[in-house]
């Protein structure tokens, strides 16, 4: 993101003083990047398909889409940032539970907490969906919205990804950050529609992707208003409110945005319904799948992965002619730090 801002800033400086004579190499490099808003993408069919679609719907003619209907929705985990070896939010939940364990002696004999305390990831996974949900509930509720924000923010500042030794928020995909900015430059409104926690994302995603908090949609737990001694706050409750995954994604889009997207981007079977919903738009629409094919710079996984499985979605994409990003071949850069 910082790169993008930097490039844009240099760009503005350059254009506003282009009759000057002291242009240096940095500015010269920048012109190339400015002229190509998707400079981290290799030339090829994928990049061309994206650009052609955006040009088509923003040019007066039969395929023109009015600005107010240019809605673009993006999955987050594995689509805007990485999701291996496990969803980053799960690492946060684990670290929170560990920090809370000293106040909960009963956890040392109770799953899934026992496995967390013993660093037993296999045991944790064996506790199944129910165990993971309990972990998330305990670590995400019973506090004010403000306190939760602070906890996530502190965690992001102090922890690093096990493989890349970078803060988790550095593991965003540079080509997708460029795509988001390119869509906005063409007056699209960009949204995140993720199975991840809405509050978790809102702490860091606005800065990372340039998407305001009200355009971030995700899974949520219930909350209540508290007004005690003239002090107003929101308390997060240990109860599921909405699961923004699979069939939930079109419902989340309907309830939160109230319009069908014309552009949808995801990387797993959990995004399939969002892409089907977008495909039913009476306007021209674009469906984009990210296929993780790059074990060297990132990871390679699809049909057999327990995280971010892409199986039915890949078949449907091929059958319907949706665009599939081949990460290894389509992306010049993956992460901004590489």
């Amino acid at each position: 993101m910082k790169n993008i801002i930097y490039i844009l800033f240099i760009g503005i400086t350059f254009f506003s003083c282009k009759e000057g004579s002291d242009q240096n190499e940095e500015a010269a490099t920048t012109i190339d990047e400015i002229s190509d808003p998707l400079s981290s993408w290799n030339d090829g069919a994928t990049k061309t398909a994206i650009i052609d679609f955006i040009e088509k719907v923003t040019t007066q003619g039969p395929d023109f889409v009015p600005i107010e209907d240019r809605i673009a929705t993006f999955d987050n985990d594995g689509n805007l940032w990485a999701e291996q070896p496990a969803y980053f939010q799960l690492f946060f939940a684990i670290d929170q539970v560990k920090a809370m364990a000293k106040d909960h002696p009963e956890w040392k004999d109770k799953e899934p907490f026992k496995s967390v305390i013993n660093n037993d990831m296999k045991g944790l996974m064996a506790s199944g969906e129910h165990g993971l949900l309990e972990l998330v509930m305990v670590s995400h509720s019973g506090m004010t919205g403000e306190a939760y924000k602070k906890a996530v923010s502190n965690w992001l500042k102090t922890t690093k990804h096990p493989r890349f030794n970078q803060p988790y928020s550095a593991l965003i995909y540079q080509p997708m950050v460029e795509l988001l900015a390119y869509l906005r430059a063409n007056e699209f409104k960009t949204f995140i529609v993720s199975g991840g926690g809405i509050d978790f994302m809102r702490v860091w995603a606005s800065e990372a992707y340039g998407i305001p908090s009200d355009q971030i949609i995700g899974s949520s737990i219930k909350a209540k208003f508290d007004y005690t001694d003239g002090k107003a706050s929101i308390i997060k409750l240990p109860e599921i409110d909405f699961i923004d995954d699979k069939e939930g994604k079109p419902v989340g889009i309907y309830q939160h945005i109230g319009k069908k997207p014309i552009f949808a981007s995801g990387n797993s079977d959990g995004d399939l319904q969002m892409l089907q919903y977008t495909d039913s738009n009476t306007y021209p629409s674009f469906q984009l799948y990210l296929h993780h094919t790059d074990a060297e710079r990132e990871w390679a996984y699809d049909r057999e992965s327990s995280i971010g499985r892409l199986d039915k979605g890949l078949d449907e994409a091929h059958g319907k002619g949706w665009t599939v990003i081949d990460m290894k071949n389509d992306w010049k850069t993956v992460f901004p730090f590489q």
Copy 2:
């Protein structure tokens, strides 16, 4: 709304050709209106308080608020448009039930339907909150999102308000439309936060107030995704999802926007918690109550009204020095058609 667009358009034309010589009277009138973005407001303490606040938070200094945190939330019923003699959405529900009655012979003996069919408003009101809820459920669910939209849109085109003989969507408050535009001109993001139905508002409110559908928050019923024979749609279900009223308003704001407003505007006790929540912002904030004091041009009601009761809210506003609009004295115009 059309007036506003017209004024702005004339304004732009005028400023862009101000060295020309053929300025006519229309343009001359327009200059006065342009120079006063709140031209339907009488000069006085209320108007001054609003302008002073907006200037304060948009001017560099200790009270400056960054653009991304300039969130303004507005109640709708009785605050942006009228709500007497009953919520307009209730009239829609009644008309829908009447139209559906021929397929439901069992309704002629069953409340609240019996009262609706017999035009017995007293009987309907006697069926209480539960009866009204049943009415709304029956008339708002069991169809696709698209079909519901069409029903609301047709109804708005074909029905008129009993007192003013105008389409319901004409009963919007001109001064509030100006206030919304003034806030946006100062880079506020404006939201509706209403107890009314989110889908009902989204049909007409974007055009009426210039607020995009994703910035409209309201009460909702559950929905599900349907994918049959390759056709994707959203089906509205007869089950409450969220009541965006009283304690629900700060929760709706938290879940949907993810930021505390710095400007909140309402007209009833149902808005009190939203104003309390806004008042707890660490930035400077502004709380605005609309007091219905104009029986001649609109209605006069407050502490005793069953619709839009303003009782506790009025006390708290006086106690805390919040700004209260006296409709009769503060507004030069109420409705655009007057």
